[in-house]
C-alpha cells in the first residue's frame, strides 16, 4: 500500500512527542481491560462467523440462515461456553450427518443431537474443524492476492481516494449506479446498508431487491457488486474498491463474508454501534475484536466512525473526543493485528460556516489527526449538519471541505453532496460533487507541501489545545474504565450503560477448553 502524503505530512505542528506518547499509553491502559474481556468471552455472532468461515451458508424456507439454526441448537443443548465448533464437528464425525449444511438442516428441524466430546473424539472434532477453517482462510488469503494482482493489472488510484455511496435498496439497481459512479471518478464505492440491518441478529441471504435507505449486506450482494466493480476496474484501468459495513449485531459474520468475497474496506468502529445504535457495549467490543482480526487477515482497510460524534455533539467543543476515539480505535485495531495502513481513522468537517475562523479550526483538527497518525489512510467526512437546502451554499462548503482535505493530506474522501438532507443523491448531484472534488484535487492537490501553519499561530495553538484536552479525557477514561466512560455519555453525548442496549444475551463467558479454530488461526497470525 502506498501513502505518499503520509511521509510528506509529518511535523508541521509544534506538538510535543512526549504528550503524544502519553496519549497512546493512556489509550492502551483504557483499552487493555476491554481486550481481556474480549479474550475471555464469545458471542453468538462470533460463533456463527466460525461456521461461515468453515463454509456454511444458506437459509431455511423463511430466510433464517443455517448458521443461526446450528448455533441456536448447540446453545440450547450444550451451551456455547466451549464454542460451536467442537459439538458441531463432533456430530458430523459421529457419522449421522454428511457435512455442516446437512447438520444445520437437521438442527433446524430439531433432529440433531449434540454433546461435548472428550478424549480422542474431541481431538477428531477439533482436527476436522481446523481443516474446514483452513479452507476458509485459504480463500481469504487467495482473495488478498487477487486484490494485489488486480491493482497491478489496473492501477492504484491517486490519493485522496474519492469515496461515493450508492443506496437504492436493490442490488440490481446499485450495480449500474456503482459502475456509473466509478466511470465518473469514484475510487471507492460504498453500498450503504438497509437502515434496519444493524439490529438484525442474522445476516440475510441471497441477492436482495428491497431495502430501506440502503441495500442489505449479504454474501451474494457482496459477490455481485465486487464482480461488477472488477469489470469496471478493468474497463477504466483503475482498481475501484468496494466498501460495506461491519457493524451491528452481526459484525463478526459480515467481516467474515467481506473477507470471503474480497471487499476492500469496511466501516468498523469500536464504539459506533454502542453510541448510535444502542447495541450492548460488551457485545460490540467483543464482536469488534474478532471482526478486526478477520479484517487484518483479509487486508481490508477499516473505516472508523468518529465523524458521527460531531454530528451529535458540538464539533468545536467535542473535537478532542474524536482524537480520543481514534487513539482507542488505533489501540484496539493494532491489538487485533491491523497494520497502520489498514486504519482508516475517521473525522469530519462539521463546524458551522457561521463560526469565526471555521476553516482554520477545521485545518487545525485535520492536520492534528494527520500528524498523530502519519501512516493511517485517514477517512475524512464532508459537512452534513450545515447543509441547509441552499444547494449553492452547500456546494461552496463542500469545496472548502475538499480544500481542507488536500491541504492536510487526507486519503479517503467521502464526497459531499450539495443536496445532503434533501434527497438521496441524483445522478447529477454525484456528478457535480465529483467535479468539485476533482477540481480541488487538480488545482490544489499539491498545496499540502506548501502548507506550513505558523508555529504558535492560531492553527498550531488550536491543535495543541485539542491534543491537551484529549490527554485529559483519556486520563479520566483510563481511571474510570472505558465502559463507565461510555455509560457517562462521554462520546456523542449519549449515555450507554454496560448492561443496557441490545444483544447482551448473545454474550457468553468462555469455559476452560473453549475451542474456536478461527480464533486460533487468527491469534496465531500465521499466513
Amino acid at each position: 500500500m502506498t501513502q505518499p502524503q503520509a511521509a510528506e505530512a509529518g511535523g508541521k505542528l509544534t506538538i510535543d512527542p512526549a504528550v503524544v506518547a502519553q496519549a497512546r499509553l493512556l489509550a492502551s491502559q483504557a483499552g487493555q481491560p476491554i481486550v481481556e474481556m474480549a479474550r475471555s468471552h464469545t458471542t453468538v455472532s462470533v460463533e456463527r462467523a466460525v461456521l461461515r468461515l468453515a463454509g456454511l451458508s444458506g437459509s431455511d424456507g423463511d430466510g433464517m440462515p443455517l448458521v443461526n439454526h446450528l448455533v441456536d441448537a448447540v446453545r440450547a443443548q450444550v451451551g456455547l461456553e466451549h464454542g460451536v465448533a467442537l459439538p458441531a464437528f463432533d456430530a458430523i464425525a459421529a457419522g449421522r450427518h454428511a457435512d455442516l449444511a446437512a447438520l444445520a438442516a437437521a438442527a433446524a428441524a430439531g433432529q440433531a443431537a449434540f454433546r461435548l466430546p472428550s478424549g480422542a473424539d474431541a481431538d477428531a472434532a477439533r482436527a476436522a474443524a481446523s481443516q474446514a477453517l483452513a479452507a476458509g482462510f485459504a480463500r481469504i488469503d487467495a482473495n488478498r492476492l487477487v486484490r494485489q494482482e488486480m491493482i497491478a493489472r489496473t492501477s492504484e488510484p491517486r490519493k485522496p481516494w474519492m469515496y461515493l455511496i450508492v443506496a437504492t435498496g436493490d442490488i440490481y439497481e446499485d450495480i449500474p449506479q456503482a459502475q456509473a459512479a466509478a466511470r465518473e471518478g469514484a475510487d471507492v464505492v460504498a453500498v450503504i446498508r438497509s437502515t434496519g440491518q444493524s439490529l438484525l441478529d442474522y445476516v440475510p441471504e441471497g441477492a436482495t431487491r428491497e431495502g430501506f435507505a440502503g441495500t442489505y449486506a449479504t454474501q451474494e450482494n457482496f459477490r455481485l457488486m465486487r464482480a461488477a466493480l472488477d469489470d469496471v476496474s478493468r474497463e477504466l484501468g483503475r482498481y475501484v474498491r468496494l466498501t460495506n459495513y461491519a457493524s451491528g449485531l452481526c459484525m463478526p459474520e459480515i467481516a467474515s463474508l467481506a473477507g470471503l468475497e474480497r471487499l476492500d474496506m469496511m466501516l468498523n468502529d469500536s464504539m459506533y454501534g454502542i453510541i448510535f445504535r444502542d447495541i450492548n457495549p460488551r457485545r460490540t467490543l467483543i464482536d469488534q475484536r474478532f471482526s478486526r482480526q478477520v479484517h487484518a487477515r483479509a487486508g481490508i482497510i477499516i473505516n472508523t466512525g468518529e465523524d458521527n460524534y460531531l454530528t451529535t455533539a458540538d464539533p468545536v467543543d467535542a473535537a478532542h473526543t474524536v482524537i480520543v476515539s481514534q487513539l482507542l480505535n488505533e489501540f484496539f485495531g493494532k491489538e487485533a493485528g491491523l497494520a497502520d495502513e489498514q486504519l482508516g481513522l475517521g473525522h469530519a468537517f462539521e463546524i458551522g460556516p457561521e463560526v469565526p475562523d471555521q476553516f482554520l479550526l477545521e485545518l487545525a483538527h485535520a492536520q492534528l489527526v494527520r500528524e498523530l497518525f502519519p501512516r493511517a489512510p485517514l477517512k475524512y467526512m464532508p459537512p452534513t449538519k450545515h447543509m441547509t437546502g441552499n444547494i449553492f451554499g452547500g456546494y461552496l462548503l463542500d469545496a472548502f471541505f475538499n480544500l481542507a482535505a488536500v491541504m492536510t493530506g487526507q486519503e479517503i474522501l467521502l464526497i459531499g453532496m450539495m443536496t445532503e438532507g434533501i434527497h438521496t443523491p441524483f445522478l447529477s448531484d454525484r456528478d457535480l460533487a465529483l467535479e468539485n472534488a476533482h477540481y480541488v484535487r487538480s488545482a490544489a492537490g499539491r498545496l499540502a507541501e506548501s502548507f506550513r501553519p505558523e508555529p504558535g499561530g492560531f492553527i498550531d495553538r488550536r491543535a495543541g489545545q485539542v491534543l491537551a484536552e484529549s490527554v485529559d479525557l483519556l486520563r479520566r477514561i483510563a481511571g474510570d474504565g472505558l465502559l463507565n466512560a461510555i455509560a457517562d455519555g462521554t462520546f456523542g453525548i449519549t449515555r450507554r450503560p454496560a448492561d443496557g442496549g441490545r444483544g447482551l444475551d448473545g454474550v457468553i463467558v468462555k469455559a476452560d477448553g473453549y475451542f474456536n479454530p478461527a480464533g486460533d488461526i487468527l491469534d496465531g497470525g500465521a499466513r
Binding site: G196, S198, L199, F212, R277, T312, D314, L427, L432, I493
Partner: protein, 253 residues
C-alpha cells in the same frame, strides 16, 4: 397596491426569470447528440411554461445522460390573495416563559418521551430537538428546567415506545422520521397513532417531525402535530405549552 399579483424577479420587476436544472436520459457525445439533447431540454422547458428558454449549460454524465441548466421566463402570475399558508396556532415563547407556564399549569415537570421509530436509524432530528446541545443556536428540550426528557434513541419498536410513555406518564411523545423511502415515514406515523389510540384523557400529545413531512397532514395521520424542516427546539417547546394549555381548558369545561 403593488404586489398582489407577481412574477419571479430576475433583475427587473415582472421579468419572470427562473432557473432550473435536470438530467435527461439521452447521450451527449457527438455533435448531433448534443444538439438533440439541448433541443430536448428546450422542449421540456417550453412545456413547463418557460418562454423564451435558454440552455446555459449542458454536460454529458456517462454515456447515457445529459445534465442541463436552463434559464427562462415564465408568464404565470402568482396571486398573493390566493396563497394559502399553514398558520401557526401558537405563540413563540422564550425558555423562561415555557418553564413558567408549565409550572403554572402542571405544578410538576412536563414529561416528553422521544424516539426514532421503525427501521429509521437517524437520530439527527430527535437529538437536535431533545439534546441539551440543541440546534440552530437554540438549546434542546433537555435544557428546559421544567421539561423531563426521555430520549429512547433510534429504531425503537412502537410497543416499547407506548410502554415507556405509559411508565413515564408522558405528557407528549415526540417522534422523528428521516427515512422516507417507500413512504416509510407515513406508514410509521400511522402505526404510531394507531398504537396510542384516539385523542382523549391519558393519551399523550403525539408529535412527529422530519424534513420530508407535510405539516398539514397531522389530522390525516392521526397525530396532533407535524413539524417539518427547519423546526427548532423552541418551536416544539412553545407548541407543547400551547397544546397543554388547550388540554387543560378542555378538562375545565
Amino acid at each position: 397596491m403593488t404586489g398582489r399579483v407577481i412574477r419571479p424577479y430576475g433583475d427587473t420587476t415582472g421579468d419572470g426569470q427562473v432557473q432550473l436544472s435536470f438530467t435527461l436520459p439521452v447521450p451527449f457525445g457527438t455533435a448531433d447528440e448534443r444538439a438533440r439533447a439541448e433541443g430536448a431540454a428546450l422542449q421540456l422547458a417550453g412545456k413547463m411554461g418557460l418562454d423564451p428558454a435558454m440552455v446555459v449549460h449542458a454536460k454529458g454524465i456517462g454515456p447515457d445522460f445529459t445534465f442541463c441548466i436552463v434559464y427562462g421566463r415564465v408568464h404565470h402570475l402568482v396571486d398573493l390573495s390566493q396563497v394559502t399558508v399553514a398558520r401557526r396556532e401558537f405563540d413563540e415563547l422564550s425558555p423562561a416563559e415555557v418553564n413558567l407556564r408549565i409550572r403554572a399549569a402542571l405544578g410538576r415537570k412536563l414529561v416528553v418521551v422521544g424516539a426514532t421509530i421503525g427501521t429509521d436509524a437517524h437520530t439527527v432530528g430527535i437529538d437536535a430537538i431533545l439534546n441539551v446541545k440543541g440546534h440552530a443556536g437554540e438549546k434542546g428540550l433537555e435544557y428546559y428546567r421544567e421539561i423531563k426528557v426521555v430520549n429512547l434513541g433510534s429504531q425503537v419498536e412502537i410497543p416499547r415506545l407506548v410502554a415507556t410513555a405509559r411508565a413515564e406518564g408522558a405528557d407528549a411523545v415526540l417522534v422523528s422520521q428521516v427515512v422516507t423511502q417507500k413512504d416509510a415515514h407515513i406508514k410509521n406515523t400511522s402505526e404510531l397513532a394507531a398504537a396510542f389510540g384516539p385523542p382523549g384523557p391519558g393519551r399523550p400529545v403525539l408529535i412527529v417531525g422530519g424534513p420530508r413531512f407535510d405539516p398539514t397532514m397531522a389530522a390525516e395521520l392521526g397525530v396532533d402535530k407535524i413539524f417539518g424542516k427547519g423546526t427548532t427546539p423552541r418551536d416544539v417547546a412553545s407548541y407543547l405549552v400551547h397544546a397543554l394549555a388547550s388540554a387543560e381548558e378542555h378538562r375545565e369545561r
